[in-house]
């Protein structure tokens, strides 16, 4: 049935000029109709993949799948692009079961459906099986303080081990532009130069992990990911982890969202700035043109992990941490580099020569954890170190953890405590 009236020019899609515009793109305010939006979104991801040579013909790649919006869209888009452009990749869904009743068991159902919807093999690795501890029992043992640290460390290893089991050496995750921008801001606020250096890399491989991780959605706005899922009617799960404090309080995340409202291009601009920082920061570990390996001291830092929680646990900070951070920075000041003189712009091709003594980076000798064999520079890997602590305190009687979904009231002092831990830990990195 023909439309009764022609569509006014101001409401037309700016790309095809023939259909009604439904979407306003955050980064450019460009108005697009549904088909044009879907194809633009997909082509941009394809461009990211191609320009970084992300995939090799004939390889097997694991998609870190949580059932959430980012990993679901990631899986859907990768399947589409793989077929359309013949990447020749076999994608597998790799899901981690942290053992959180009322949260993870529900989202795993979503991943199982995704596996059928996208025709991908699904492998689920559980903390219980790997470590003998589910997150429910960890929280039961240590309470809600620092539990996100455990989860981040455990998750990183779990992803690696899951990939290894499948003979896979490349894991993709659904980190989006908002996540990266938030990480850049957080690292900036913390003055964490090594992490600032790493966090915008699209692919990271490291001496402390045999598995390469990449983020194909790195330049995709979170808003567009949600819109893509909506318009393609993708099946995803959207509830906060019941152990994380409410996401909405994260100050870096709130700042990003407020910025986006006022100046939507800010998110990508921050990502680009982060990439520029990365070239500016002197690093003995930076190989020319190659992916930067993880710096030393990474193992010594708590909760280091690319796999870090993408949930509400990310980017939390509150007033108290700024004070602690300042103290830490002052303590580090002796031997710190002289500040880099600001320049109007940085040419991408020319790494800036800085006149400072390069920070001494401790030599890291990689060997195997004496307990589990995982690659580590210490005697025990991070996860085993944490497990030692947990196992010492294991209660004799195992109490069934009854976690109500409505049980989201976290006292503000508990939250502050958790935020303090989270600032000290690595929850999202690149």
């Amino acid at each position: 049935m023909p439309p009764a009236l022609p569509i006014p020019a101001s409401k037309l899609c700016e790309s095809c000029r023939s259909a009604r515009a439904l979407i306003s793109r955050p980064k450019t305010h460009q108005k697009l109709c549904k088909p044009c939006f879907l194809s633009t979104f997909e082509s941009e991801i394809h461009a990211t993949i191609v320009s970084t040579n992300l995939f090799k013909q004939g390889s097997r790649v694991a998609i870190g799948a949580s059932g959430g919006k980012d990993s679901t869209v990631l899986a859907s888009v990768l399947k589409t692009l793989n077929e359309r452009y013949d990447y020749g990749v076999e994608f597998v869904l790799l899901s981690i079961d942290e053992g959180i009743k009322g949260y993870r068991d529900d989202s795993l159902e979503t991943v199982k459906r995704n596996a059928v919807q996208y025709g991908m093999e699904l492998v689920i690795v559980s903390y219980e099986e790997l470590y003998g501890w589910s997150m429910d029992s960890v929280v039961q043992s240590i309470g809600k303080k620092g539990n996100c640290t455990y989860c981040g460390v455990f998750r990183r290893q779990a992803l690696d081990r899951g990939a290894e089991r499948l003979g896979i050496h490349h894991v993709v995750t659904g980190h989006n532009a908002d996540d990266i921008a938030e990480t850049v801001l957080m690292n900036l606020l913390r003055g964490d130069l090594p992490r600032l250096h790493r966090c915008t890399s699209i692919i990271t491989s490291s001496t402390s992990s045999p598995i390469a991780r990449s983020k194909p959605l790195k330049y995709a706005y979170e808003k567009e990911i949600v819109l893509y899922a909506l318009h393609k009617k993708l099946d995803y799960f959207s509830t906060e982890c019941i152990y994380s404090p409410e996401a909405f309080r994260g100050s870096a995340r709130t700042l990003i969202k407020a910025l986006e409202r006022v100046r939507p291009s800010a998110i990508l601009d921050i990502v680009r700035s982060g990439e520029a920082f990365s070239r500016m920061i002197p690093s003995q570990a930076q190989a020319p043109g190659a992916e930067p390996p993880q710096e030393s001291g990474a193992e010594a830092d708590s909760g280091d992990g690319d796999a870090g929680c993408k949930n509400g646990g990310a980017g939390r900070s509150s007033g108290g941490e700024m004070r602690d951070m300042e103290r830490a920075l002052v303590a580090e000041a002796s031997g710190l580099e002289t500040p880099i003189a600001p320049t109007p712009c940085i040419n991408p091709g020319k790494p800036k020569q800085t006149k400072q003594t390069p920070k001494k980076i401790r030599e890291q000798k990689m060997s195997n954890c004496t307990r589990c064999g995982y690659l580590t520079s210490q005697k025990l890997c991070k996860a085993c170190t944490l497990l030692e602590g947990l196992n010492k305190n294991r209660p004799k009687t195992v109490v069934e953890v009854e976690v109500g979904i409505g049980d989201e009231e976290v006292s503000s002092s508990l939250q502050r405590g958790m935020e303090a831990v989270k600032l000290a830990e690595e929850v999202i990195t690149g």
């Binding site: 659904g174 989006n176 808003k223 819109l227 909506l230 959207s238 996401a247 709130t254 993408k310």
Partner: protein, 117 residues
């Protein structure tokens, strides 16, 4: 048809506006865990202006939200940044955001993006 709402000081009655409101991305937990609501709102806001989306947001907070955590939906009287609003499938940015005038049988969808992926 009974008209209970929206009488102005001089006694003129305005027919309430009927519309569908949908919540997704976790927001439904604030509204009795129900994704879809068919509601009626007054045609005019307290200052006699036609009901717009801004007014709808306030109305939802006052009348439909069963959860106390208003800040998950609104921040400083506006929709929280990070919540997408679609008016009959169209991005609210293309329809005037809070200034959009609500019409009968509109479908307003609120999708939260503020959760892990």
């Amino acid at each position: 048809m009974g008209e209970q709402q929206g009488s102005s000081p001089n006694g003129v009655h305005y027919k309430p506006v009927t519309l569908d409101v949908e919540f997704s991305g976790g927001l439904e937990t604030l509204f009795s865990n129900q994704r879809s609501h068919r509601i009626q709102i007054p045609a005019k806001d307290p200052s006699e202006q036609p009901a717009n989306l801004g007014f709808l947001v306030h109305y939802l907070c006052e009348n439909l939200m069963k959860d106390k955590r208003k800040e998950l939906f609104v921040l400083e009287d506006r929709i929280r940044p990070g919540i997408l609003v679609l008016i009959n499938d169209v991005d609210w940015e293309l329809e005037g955001e809070e200034g959009y005038l609500i019409q009968d049988d509109d479908t307003i969808l609120f999708v939260s993006t503020l959760h892990g992926g």
